[in-house]
Amino acid sequence: MENTKHSEQELKAIALNAREHIVRMSTAGGCFTGASLSAVDLIVYLYSEFLNITPSNLKDPNRDYLFLSKGHDVPALYGTFAELGLLEKERLQNHLSLNDHIYWHPNTHIPGVEFHSGSLGHLPSVAIGVAMDIKISGGENKVICIMGDGELNEGSCWEAVLVANAYKLDNLIFVIDRNHFQANMRTEDLIPLEPLTQKFESFGAAVQRINGHSYTELHQAFTAYPFQKGKLNVVIADTVRGKGLPSIEERADRWFCNFSADEVDQLLLELHGEHTTSLTSETLIVR
């Protein structure tokens, strides 16, 4: 990787810490562990390297924007925020507490969250509005919207691609966390998405398909922004649900996890490759 602010080792260290935060939030009520772990590397890369978003410029109209439309990835977002100084680490201990606003979906009580999400298929259009205004106002800001692959079932995502194409929003990047699972099963077993690259291309977007856990590939893709003048940018990041925890990786039943305190301790060791956890906690399907 060339011309990066952080070395690959540094990015991996931030991501490892963010993953630890996710595991610690996966108890006493739990969170969307499997879904969040697939997005960690993406989110860490974007905030650390690509986006002009810092604790001091959150109200600056010239900042970049990141919209997390796949709202249940919020532990990955907050874990990253905590590592990058956007959110006090202690606040993560308030997960699900009435004394704070750290719950299962993002909300603007948390500095750095641009818009609330949770209902899938909303933020592509909100991001379009922001990108349109930047075009009208003549700004240089970049606008990112992260969507899940399951989220692409929502028709509003595709409406948004049509409109972004019509308005030539080349300042907008749709990033797909392509972990190949939707809530309960593999996407291709329920609502097949492939060939996904061609779908977006046929709608007029310029598409890069990469390994969403490789910082080298992330960096190559995003440094090519804008991919093509006048075209919506789409990054399809192939990822692994549960990435970093082999005992839950690619498991349909580990979308949402509520581990026992003992399992959390074991999983933290597992994150460091020192252990394999044998899980006994019940699996939870909340959708």
Binding site: G121, P124, S125, A127, E159, L162
Partner: protein, 312 residues
């Protein structure tokens, strides 16, 4: 002044205004040429239009958003609720051909639950002007307010000259001790006719143009309940959730009661036809309304009702 003239003047005076439409251009035909990039037509995508309006509002814009009332409030309902409502962003919804104004389109286009569902969203305000004069008197305040707003667009001309508008206030057209008609929107036109007939039959008749359905003028409702023997709620809306429900809520909240006759559509869509025929068939002409209140037929004649031009 027409709706389009007012919108053009407002947008030219205020750079924050963005005019949006989901390909419903009947009221904004000349705006693309005037506003350039500040005119955004998202095509037939009500959901994306509302989401994008939220994004524009995040950047300090005031989007004035156009679509047929039925699709604006129902196709995009969750976007209005989630993107504009939760965030309390000043998206200004202009719903075209609401209520009976969808005349011959059929039930797909009938927005007769729009008041009910829009007022159910926290932060969202709801307005229904009686005619074009009322519309242009109301909109400047609606557009300046910091909240999301839904307006039932009504560009018909009644010849009535309305008072200046105050947000949350109704307009008292006449007061009477026997019966008072509370109404909004298109039905104001027929209420004026009904009032004349009722007066000719010797009744003391009041008429209130509600204008602002949320926030609603509670004081006027309570005053009417105290001063008039009968309240008639008249609306081209389902019986559930509109003005009749609002009046019931207010009376209950203040632990009072009144004799109320609702005139609304009870659990049914209306039979599609041109507007004059719709009103006649549904029993919503001024003469029919007056006779329903009186309980007998009169020799009065119903003035002719103008058919609106087709516009989508």
């Amino acid at each position: 002044m027409s709706y389009e003239e007012l919108l053009t003047e407002t947008a030219l005076a205020n750079e924050r205004v963005i005019v949006m439409t989901a390909e419903n251009r009947a009221l904004v035909r000349n705006l693309p040429a005037v506003l350039g990039k500040r005119f955004i037509d998202t095509g037939i995508t009500e959901q994306t239009m509302i989401g994008a309006a939220a994004g524009l509002a995040l950047r300090n814009r005031i989007p004035v958003i156009h679509a047929l009332a039925a699709f604006l409030t129902m196709r995009a309902f969750e976007f209005v609720r989630t993107d504009l409502g939760i965030a309390n962003l000043p998206g200004k919804l202009s719903g075209f051909i609401p209520g009976f104004l969808s005349d011959a389109n059929g039930p797909t286009h009938q927005a007769i639950e729009d008041i009910s569902i829009m007022r159910g969203i926290p932060n969202v305000t709801v307005f229904a002007p009686a005619d074009e004069d009322d519309l242009v008197k109301m909109l400047p305040q609606i557009w300046q307010s910091p909240n999301p707003a839904y307006t039932r667009i009504n560009t018909r001309k009644t010849g009535y000259e309305h008072e200046p508008f105050e947000l949350g206030k109704a307009e008292v057209v006449a007061t009477g001790s026997d019966v008072t008609i509370l109404t909004y929107g298109l039905m104001f036109e027929q209420a004026l006719i009904a009032v004349e007939i009722l007066k000719n039959e010797g009744l003391s008749v009041g008429l209130v143009n509600m204008r602002s359905l949320k926030p609603v003028d509670e004081a006027i409702i309570l005053q009417t309940a105290a001063s008039s023997n009968l309240i008639v709620t008249l609306e081209d809306h389902f019986l559930t959730g509109g003005l009749y429900t609002i009046v019931a809520e207010v009376l209950l909240q203040y632990q009072t009661t009144a004799k109320v006759m609702p005139i609304a559509l009870n659990e049914r869509w209306f039979r599609p036809a041109l507007l004059p025929d719709v009103l006649q068939n549904e029993g919503f002409t001024g003469k029919q309304i007056a006779e329903r209140i009186l309980g007998y037929q009169t020799g009065h004649t119903q003035p002719s009702i103008l058919t609106p031009e087709f516009s989508e």
